[in-house]
Amino acid sequence: LGSDLTTLGLNLNSPDALYATFTSPWSENNQAVGLIEPEYHLPSCYNV
């Protein structure tokens, strides 16, 4: 019968993309946003 897929630690109702905070297929809780920094880019000229 499969399993209840809402218990895999992903917020399936999230309005935002899940991939940005997806830390690992093995993690029971992929919403630990604190673990990873959000996506950002530093222009090379900021390297002073």
Binding site: S27, I36, E37, C45, V48
Partner: protein, 153 residues
């Protein structure tokens, strides 16, 4: 080839070997910590200070809202002394919000002191404030300065 490998795998002896390797690898399943962004500098033997001296920036410094509260000097300090970090990115973003513009040739930030005297497609010219990060670590006024847009980050 793929088919040959699959043939081998689905054959009994290799299926068993693969199951064994898979079971054995369970002890080394990567965790989130293993995928963290590489730490550029990690003290090999950190000096054990009191716990109230944080060893890494507290998570609050990842919060963009905090940067709105910093004064301009702090933003410049983070920008020039926390290079390559998310904090530098947040400081630059806040500086831009406060109408500072990064000059790619002089590697510093400029702000209009008054409405420019001339604005063309290539540049604008007038009196600006800029941040002197190499000299006296202060803001200086520059008159008759031409900010060429090709140098605008």
């Amino acid at each position: 080839s793929y088919e040959a490998a699959e043939e081998k795998f689905l054959g009994k002896e290799d299926g068993f070997h693969i199951q064994q390797m898979l079971d054995a690898s369970l002890q080394y399943v990567p965790e989130s910590l293993d995928a963290e962004r590489p730490k550029h500098y990690v003290p090999r033997n950190p000096y054990h200070t009191s716990s109230y001296y944080p060893q890494t920036p507290p998570p609050i410094f990842d919060n963009p809202a905090l940067f709105e509260k910093f004064d301009i000097d702090t933003l410049f300090f983070i920008f020039y002394y926390q290079q390559g970090t998310y904090q530098q990115y947040l400081a630059a973003r806040e500086l831009k919000k406060q109408s500072w513009r990064f000059h790619k040739k002089y590697l510093t930030w400029f702000q209009r002191h008054e409405e420019p005297k001339a604005i063309t497609d290539e540049y604008e010219q007038g009196t600006y404030i800029y941040f002197d990060y190499e000299g006296a670590w202060c803001q200086r006024k520059k008159t008759e300065f031409r900010f060429e847009y090709r140098f605008l980050e």
